[in-house]
Each structure stands twice: as C-alpha cells, then as structure tokens.
Symmetry: C2
Subunit: 150 residues, 2 copies
C-alpha cells in the first residue's frame, strides 16, 4: 500500500490566515492540531492545539498557575483580546516543529520512518506540488494491523 | 467552570500492561495517544502514537527511509515481532514527557496554564487519589469559546 492510498482529508490553514479562524476551527472540530501551509500553499509546519494555549496564557501564569486568580477576564475574553488582528504565523513557535512530508508512492514503512524520526503525529502526502492528503500515526497503525496483505 | 466538570473519559493503560494491547487500542480507536498509569493506577505519562512508530521502525531506517526496502517483512509482521512479550513500559521514552495533572476544582485558566507550560495535549483531572477524567486541549478551547458565562 502506498501513501497516496492511505491519505485522508485533514484541515489545513494558511500562515497568513486569521489566528481567530484557526482557533475556532480547532475548538469547533475538536482537533489536536492543524497543518499550516505557506503563502504558496506548500506544507510548512503543524500547529498543535497545546501550542495555542501557550499564546493565550501569560508566561507568569504558566510558571505559577496559582496566579491565574489575578486574571479577571474570562478565558473567552482573553482569547478575543490576545488573538485580535493576529495571523496564524503569530501562533507558531519560533523553532516550529518540522512537518513530516512524504511522497505519494512511499510505502507504509517509509511513511512510518519519516514520522518516527521527526516525532510528528502526522505526515502530509504530496504528489509533486499537489497536496494529496494527510496520514495520522493512528491511521498508519490501523492500516498496518489490517489482516489483508499490503 | 471547574476541571471536574470539563473532564471526559479517555483511554488509559497501565505501564505493566501488554504493549500489543496498547498498540491495538491506539489503532482500532484511532487515538493520538494514551494516558499511561503506574502500578498504583496513578497517572504517569502519555504515550503518543508517533512514539510507538519509533519503536517499530529501526533507527537506521528512520535516519534514511530509503533503506526501508531492505526490510522484507510487512509492517504487521514487524509489529508482532517487535512487540512480542513487551510491556507498555518498553514503548515509553527514557525522558518521558511530563503529563499535565490538575485538580478537580482548578479553573479553566489554571488547566490551560499547566497544559501550556508542559506543552501537553491533555490534562488528567484528579480528585485526591481518584482519576476523574481527562481534558484535551481542543475540549478546553471548545468550552472557552462557548457563549455561556463560565
């Protein structure tokens, strides 16, 4: 089985898109993360949902959560305030995690190897410049466990 | 809203349980990971699905996926062989990631702060020694965005 047959749809957002759109997409669809593409539509990185929380919660509260009491506004108000006018780029880490990118004709073990090396929970499947879809680690395990021959 | 009201069920596995059981649970339910508990049933760490791939694929193939062709057995056979007789403990990294653990009466911002600091995609909610459930980062965002007052 090749990567292009294993690929599924997965939500993608552009690095210049509105940060608020990314956050509502994560929240409403309860996603663990989004694939972020660059201005040319090529896969750039991954935005894990836990990373969004780092942007929303002030560092001094992350260091000492008991200080959360000093924040008088609600989490919703805080999100509006922190994200207003921001792009997706502002949500990414400076040392953004490398995204696993594989080719449509890669085998299941090649895909697993790339995801394993990068500790990346998903791989974007490309055919030339075209994005075919995404393979998550759990999808890969599911296919690997299937009794049918590969 | 407090952590105990936000918590949901989430699959948990013991560190002394069979590794094969963990992997089939991840694959069949297409989970991004499992919460791992110690011998006393207390939350210990998280087992991300991508970490399982690191155990299944030899290091030299991770370093150079083009070498995957030398592996003659299927991914399924490889999984059987690599996991036979192993415990969940053998799947964990030596430097296992710290799991976010919060108290049932923690607020949404306190929970967000702990998850953000640890870059952990979920938090286990405890009431004393008892595990109430788990809050994922996307669940937290979803609740934070709800129009109702907290």
């Amino acid at each position: 089985m090749h990567a292009s047959e294993m690929a599924e749809d997965f939500p993608v957002i552009g690095v210049e898109d509105d940060a608020w759109t990314a956050v509502t997409q994560l929240a409403e669809n309860r996603l663990p993360g989004l694939v972020v593409t660059d201005e040319a539509g090529q896969p750039l990185s991954i935005l894990p949902t836990s990373q969004v929380l780092r942007v929303l919660v002030p560092t001094y509260v992350q260091d000492d959560p008991s200080l959360a009491g000093v924040l008088t506004e609600s989490m919703a108000d805080r999100m509006c305030e922190r994200l207003r006018g921001k792009k997706v780029r502002a949500l990414l880490r400076d040392d953004m995690p490398e995204l696993a990118v594989v080719r449509g004709d890669d085998t299941i073990i090649e895909v697993a190897a790339v995801m394993a090396r990068l500790r990346c929970p998903l791989a974007v499947v490309m055919r030339g410049q075209e994005r075919v879809g995404v393979i998550t680690a759990s999808r890969l395990l599911q296919l690997a466990l299937k009794p049918a021959p590969e």
